[in-house]
Every structure is written in structure tokens, then in C-alpha cells.
């Protein structure tokens, strides 16, 4: 039982010298940061698995009712680009009581239509405006709870950089997604430190670390060489 006890109690190396305080602070930070991040890590892990296995159903999408209403399209909308266009599109969405991240807006003078795709976790909405009459047809589609995991996993992502983050929720989520990435690196580094002071775990830990490095480099070599 000595090895088990050693693993669960304060390691001798941490009891000695000036490292004790640092060790306890780091151990508590590792615990609290880890607990706070737990739901986010689960979200990224589950959604990664779902993205890796597209055959797994996410639940049947729910087609919601389409409603029709009158909206005003701001003058000069077709001349705008990037975030300015998103701001004007947001005005139209407010009239239609629709919220979410706006995707690439399609404006066609020829067809006389303005199409605004909007997305948020678990929902996709299309606002289709007939420019001549100002009538907007709003179709909302529920994509399911699991799809909202995938949505958050992919947001904000590398595409549509000039318009991405036009909804405050996506901007806020960017902070949390970044925070998950950087804090997970902190957790792994602090975890390595906490392991390193456990003398009884050093040998097997080193073997696993070496196994991980070999697997990682081996996989990279197989793919990239």
C-alpha cells in the first residue's frame, strides 16, 4: 500500500524547502480550473467524436413554422460589405424578432430577393425578403441538442473572418473557446509538475510520457512525411 498512499498524500518533495507553497497553490488551481473547465472539455470531446463519425444521428431536425411579415430593408444595403452589411442585416432581423449569427447574406437585384441565413446553437433560420414588397418569409429549423455541441465546437472557426462574430454570443463564446484551449494547456503543464514531484509514479509516468511522445511523433510521421 506504500505506493498507493504516496500517490494520495503530499509528496515528500513538496514538503521540503520552498516548493511547498507553490505546490499547494498549483494543486488547488489544477483542481478548480479543471472543475470549471469540465463541462467545456466534455462538450469538445463529445462533439469531436460526433464530427469524426458522421454516421451517428444527431436527432431528426425539426422543421418549424414559416411566418411571413413586413420588414424595411435599409437603403443602400446592396452597397455595403463586411460588418457594415451585418449591422444593417441585424436591423432587419430585429424587425423579424430573429437573433443569431448571420452567415453570408445573398442580395440579388435580378431576383429581387434578399436572403439572410442566421444560426445559433440548435437552430438555423432563413429570412427571405422579397425586395419589391418588403415581405419577409422566416423559416426556423431546429437542428437538435447534439448539433448545438457541434455548432459551438466549430465557432467561430477559420471561415468568413470578415463577418464572423457579428452576434455578441459568438463573440463571448470565442473567449470561452480560447479559454478552454489555453487553460487545458495550463492543466496539462500543471499536471506534469504535480506528477513530477510524486517519486513513486516517476518511472511508470516517464514510460507513459515516452509512449505518448512516440505515438504522437509516429502518427505525425506517417501522415506528414
Amino acid at each position: 500500500m506504500n505506493a498507493l498512499d504516496d500517490a494520495l498524500q503530499t509528496p515528500p518533495a513538496a514538503k521540503e524547502g520552498t516548493h511547498a507553497r507553490f505546490y499547494f497553490i498549483l494543486r488547488n488551481l489544477h483542481l478548480y480550473v479543471g472543475l470549471f473547465l469540465s463541462p467545456f472539455v466534455l462538450l469538445f470531446a463529445v462533439s469531436a467524436f460526433l464530427l469524426n463519425h458522421p454516421g451517428i444521428p444527431l436527432g431528426a431536425p425539426v422543421e418549424c413554422q414559416t411566418k411571413v411579415m413586413q420588414v424595411d430593408v435599409p437603403r443602400g444595403f446592396d452597397k455595403l460589405e463586411g460588418m457594415e452589411r451585418m449591422q444593417q442585416a441585424r436591423q432587419i432581423l430585429r424587425q423579424a424578432s430573429v437573433s443569431g449569427e448571420i452567415g453570408p447574406v445573398h442580395y440579388s437585384d435580378k431576383d429581387g430577393r434578399l436572403i439572410i441565413p442566421v444560426s445559433k446553437p440548435g437552430y438555423e433560420t432563413t429570412v427571405d425578403v422579397t425586395l419589391r414588397t418588403g415581405l419577409a418569409s422566416i423559416t426556423e429549423r431546429g437542428t437538435g441538442f447534439l448539433d448545438s455541441f457541434i455548432y459551438l465546437h466549430k465557432m467561430p472557426g477559420p471561415h468568413l473572418a470578415n463577418i464572423r462574430g457579428n452576434w455578441w454570443v459568438v463573440r463571448a463564446w470565442t473567449w470561452f473557446a480560447d479559454g478552454t484551449a489555453w487553460l487545458l494547456i495550463f492543466l496539462s503543464v500543471s499536471g506534469v509538475y504535480l506528477w513530477a514531484v510524486l517519486r513513486s509514479e516517476r518511472h511508470i509516468g516517464l514510460m507513459l510520457l515516452a509512449g505518448g511522445v512516440i505515438s504522437f511523433l509516429g502518427a505525425l510521421y506517417a501522415i506528414c512525411s
Binding site: M1, L4, D5, A7, L8, L31, Y32, L35, F36, L37, S38, P39, F40, V41, L42, F44, A45, A48, F49, L50, L51, N52, H53, P54, G100, K120, P121, G122, Y123, F145, S148, I150, L152, P158, A161, V169, A172, T174, F176, A177, D178, A181, W182, L184, I185, G191, V192, W195, L198, E201, G205, L208, L209, G211, G212, V213, F216, A219, L220, I223
Partner: protein, 206 residues
């Protein structure tokens, strides 16, 4: 005296963390870069290098689509995942794209003339890192895609293993915390904050 279950949970928590250390770093770093396309290091696509070449080929023995593409790749010494459709043009050409983290090869093979035109696109190491993040050979939005390279399958398996490992790390971490009476309240606050924050994002659309 701690129970053996608790001791082993703690050990496995440590062991898995050590094994997956570099995988975690790769996905965290590439994830952060993917989220910030305006960062200089994320501009790898604009800094790509393109090289075109023409090589002689012999007609593949099996001309069924995937087999023919595989045969041509062997002849051209190109390795990677065939991405997207393999098209046969009316003029008898086979056109397809091969992708690996770091490079993309567009191949247009004229079987009658015995000549293949290859356009290689190379991105820098940051680009390769980003491509690794989503290198699965499959896509939810395109059910026609099927993984066709063994190395892609191995990488997908690594991603699955990392996902399962992270789930275990989270659950084992929570188990270890629950057993610590001293930090139960403060830990509960940290966990509750995390759950509430995520629940807020998930429910905001409802």
C-alpha cells in the same frame, strides 16, 4: 486510508494525462489558431506555394474510380487522402484531389495520352498543424465522403482515443474531487460556474 479505487483513479488520471500530453497541446494550439483567422500565423493559405508538374503514367489495370486513383497515386508517388469526388471527364481524364496535412495535390490524368498534370499546393507548418485538427476524411455536411487512406484512419482513431481519454480525465477528476471533503464546497462553486456558463450558451438559442 484511501480506497484502492480512489488510488487507481488518481493514477489513471495521471497516466492518461501524460500519454495524451502532446495530442492535447496540438489540438489546443491548432484550435486557438483556427478561431483567430486574422492572426499572422493563421494566414498560411495566403503564403502557400504552388508547383505544377507533368509526369508520364501508364493506364491503371483497374479503371474503377477509387482503384484507378490509387494506382495513379502509386505511379506518381503521391500519398494522402483522396478528398471529394473523382471525376471522369468526357475527354477521358480522371480528375481528383489528394490531401495531407501540409499539402494538397490536384491531379488531372489523361489515360489516353499517358500523361498526368499535377498541381501541388504546399502550406507552412502552421497550415499543416491546422489541417491536422480536422483531418478525418469525413464531413457531416457531405455524406459522400469516405475515409480512404490508412493514415487518416489512424489519425481518426487517435482523435477518438483523445476524446475518450478527455472524458475519462474529466470524470476521474470529478471523482477525485468528491472524495476530498475539504474542497467540496469551493470545488462545487467552480464546477457550477462552468456548468452554468455552458448551459447559458447551449440554451441561448432556445
Amino acid at each position: 486510508m484511501p480506497s484502492a479505487v480512489e488510488a487507481w483513479t488518481r493514477k489513471l488520471h495521471t497516466y492518461l494525462g501524460l500519454y495524451f500530453l502532446f495530442f492535447v497541446w496540438l489540438f489546443c494550439l491548432s484550435g486557438a489558431i483556427l478561431n483567430h483567422p486574422k492572426w499572422r500565423i493563421a494566414g498560411f493559405w495566403n503564403e502557400r506555394k504552388q508547383v505544377s508538374s507533368e509526369l508520364k503514367i501508364s493506364r491503371p489495370a483497374d479503371t474503377s474510380t477509387l482503384q484507378a486513383a490509387g494506382d495513379l497515386m502509386m505511379q506518381l508517388r503521391i500519398r494522402g487522402e483522396i478528398s471529394g469526388e473523382i471525376t471522369h471527364t468526357e475527354s477521358g481524364e480522371i480528375v481528383f484531389r489528394v490531401v495531407r496535412p501540409g499539402d494538397v495535390s490536384d491531379i488531372k490524368a489523361d489515360l489516353d495520352k499517358g500523361l498526368a498534370k499535377i498541381s501541388h499546393i504546399y502550406v507552412n507548418n502552421w497550415g499543416a498543424l491546422n489541417m491536422l485538427h480536422s483531418f478525418t476524411g469525413v464531413r457531416r455536411t457531405d455524406p459522400t465522403l469516405h475515409q480512404n487512406w490508412w493514415a487518416t484512419g489512424m489519425w481518426r482513431f487517435s482523435m477518438d482515443a483523445l476524446s475518450a481519454g478527455l472524458v475519462f480525465m474529466v470524470l476521474s477528476g470529478i471523482f477525485i474531487w468528491i472524495r476530498r471533503a475539504q474542497q467540496r464546497r469551493s470545488g462545487m462553486l467552480a464546477l457550477a460556474l462552468g456548468i452554468l456558463a455552458l448551459a447559458g450558451f447551449l440554451s441561448i438559442g432556445a
